[in-house]
């Protein structure tokens, strides 16, 4: 028989104190500051902003400190915080064509106007541990060169000219918002992109990888990957015009995919799209591949039953806060549930034993 109990307050308080002490680590080592995390663990900060779905580097750095570097826990903290904020409005769509470029590469066009700008990338490093970093080496100043004032146009525009690639005609519909209404299926492409933009990097990466290995293959090239800052503008009702409310760093990836054509479309290249907060290029590329794989129905392609083609599977499982919430809750007390299971097993065993005895007699 199960008896309702309560308790554990003292244990919980002490566990929190122990957690705080462990978070601090050895007291003879200097404490990490939030600005240090913001400046020196920038890519962790970016991931927390992208999946926390809130652009605020200071808050993301604080969350990382509080979470002891557990990024999913930090994302959880940011998601919880953002629910407390009033919504001042929605921005006008950002114009990534006017990005101040930090990095911009194309895997399809060597001589793209605007050039191949490598930026601060891990590509071409040898992935050898650098022991000078352990010895507090000062970073050398990055070289400079005259920057071109010319705009850096999107590369897909060049393919558009010959009609070799599908176009994305402008529209002004108000997009559905996952944070305001529950996900409903089938989802529009804008809704899928919102879910993927805040989806778990590891999950989206693995799904994208699965399409490359043949589970919903889409033959993707990175047409363009660009990282830099863009202005965010919002229409302010009390002013009657749009003002710039800030500037954010984003990563944008456009894939160029093979497409054999369908009953309605001629053979042409198609596109997948990735966009995420901060310098988060693995995430953005993966997002573009999964976006493209999910478009099979719209493009009249075959459904091979691959996970990356299954909208419900992808969208219902890409959110790491939903996932970890459901996964981790099973370690919390389930005494009553388990008691009923125990009763059931005992009952079945008694019945089985009785049946065996009857047969023997």
């Amino acid at each position: 028989m199960y008896v309702a109990v309560k308790g554990g307050e003292r244990a919980i308080d002490n566990a929190h104190a122990f957690l705080a002490e462990e978070r601090r680590g050895a007291p003879d080592i200097a404490e990490l500051t939030v600005p240090q995390i913001r400046e020196q663990l920038r890519l962790a900060v970016n991931r927390v902003m992208a999946e926390g779905s809130l652009y605020d580097p200071d808050l993301a750095a604080l969350a990382i400190k509080q979470a002891r570097g557990d990024l999913i826990e930090a994302i959880f903290l940011i998601r919880a915080y953002r629910t407390t904020l009033p919504r001042h409005g929605a921005s006008q769509p950002i114009d990534t064509g006017k990005m101040s470029i930090t990095r911009r590469v194309s895997a399809t066009f060597k001589d793209a106007p605007g050039g191949q700008i490598l930026g601060p990338t891990f590509d071409y490093t040898h992935r050898l541990l650098d022991f000078t970093l352990a010895a507090n080496g000062e970073a050398p100043a990055a070289p400079v060169a005259p920057a071109s004032p010319d705009p850096v146009p999107h590369i897909t525009k060049f393919l558009n000219r010959d009609g070799l690639i599908e176009t994305a005609p402008p529209a002004e519909d108000t997009p559905a918002d996952l944070t305001r209404e529950p996900l409903s299926l089938p989802a529009s492409r804008p809704l899928r992109l919102q879910a993927l933009a805040r989806g778990d990097e590891g999950f989206v990466l693995s799904l994208a990888y699965s399409t490359q290995r043949g589970y919903g293959r889409t033959h993707a090239f990175v047409g363009e990957l660009r990282i830099g800052t863009v202005a965010v503008e919002m229409q302010v009702p009390e002013l009657g015009f749009a003002v710039e409310i800030g500037e954010i760093e984003v990563t944008e990836c456009e894939t160029v995919n093979q497409f054999k054509g369908s009953k309605t479309e001629p053979p042409q290249f198609t596109r997948g799209y990735g966009l995420s907060f901060g310098q988060t290029e693995r995430k953005s590329i993966a997002m573009a591949l999964v976006d493209r794989a999910l478009r099979w129905k719209e493009l009249g392609e075959d459904n091979s039953g691959a996970p990356a083609q299954d909208e419900e599977f992808v969208l219902a499982h890409c959110d790491n806060i939903q996932a970890t919430g459901f996964l981790e809750h099973i370690k919390l007390p389930h005494y009553v549930d388990f008691q009923s299971e125990l009763e059931l097993i005992r009952h079945l065993r008694a019945e089985a034993q009785a049946a065996r005895q009857e047969a023997a007699e």
Partner: protein, 151 residues
Amino acid sequence: MSVQELPTEDRRAWMGLLARARPERLAALLPAPLPAHADLRAPEIGAVMVRGRVSASGAPFNLGEMTVTRCALRLTDCGTVGHAYVQGRDRDHARRAALVDALMQTGRAAALRAQVLDPLAAEEAAARGLRAAKAAATRVEFFTLVRGEDA
């Protein structure tokens, strides 16, 4: 002077500059005591949903939110109203930005421009220029080694 008479582009430019400014820098350029004013909307921290476009040019979608603090106030002496929407969660940043917005609509505009806006604009341009120059140094120059038809 009413809002409608002002050249909107000019006002858009300074509001954007103030929104992007670092709070501590703005505080240094416009130190206390601040000009007398009354709050119309006390500084309020909130979020704005940032939108992108499908494939950069198509239908809008919700990318994620950003923190934004807003404020509206009225100058005590002339009644001029100033508005601010600034990036981040710094209430003093929003208050100072709204004050500058109000003062820029008064006879003190030229002084304010020299004291606050010009330094902010110069520093921002220098920082952007340096970042662009560092990026430009990583631009790939291709050299043709052997052409297929020459080999």
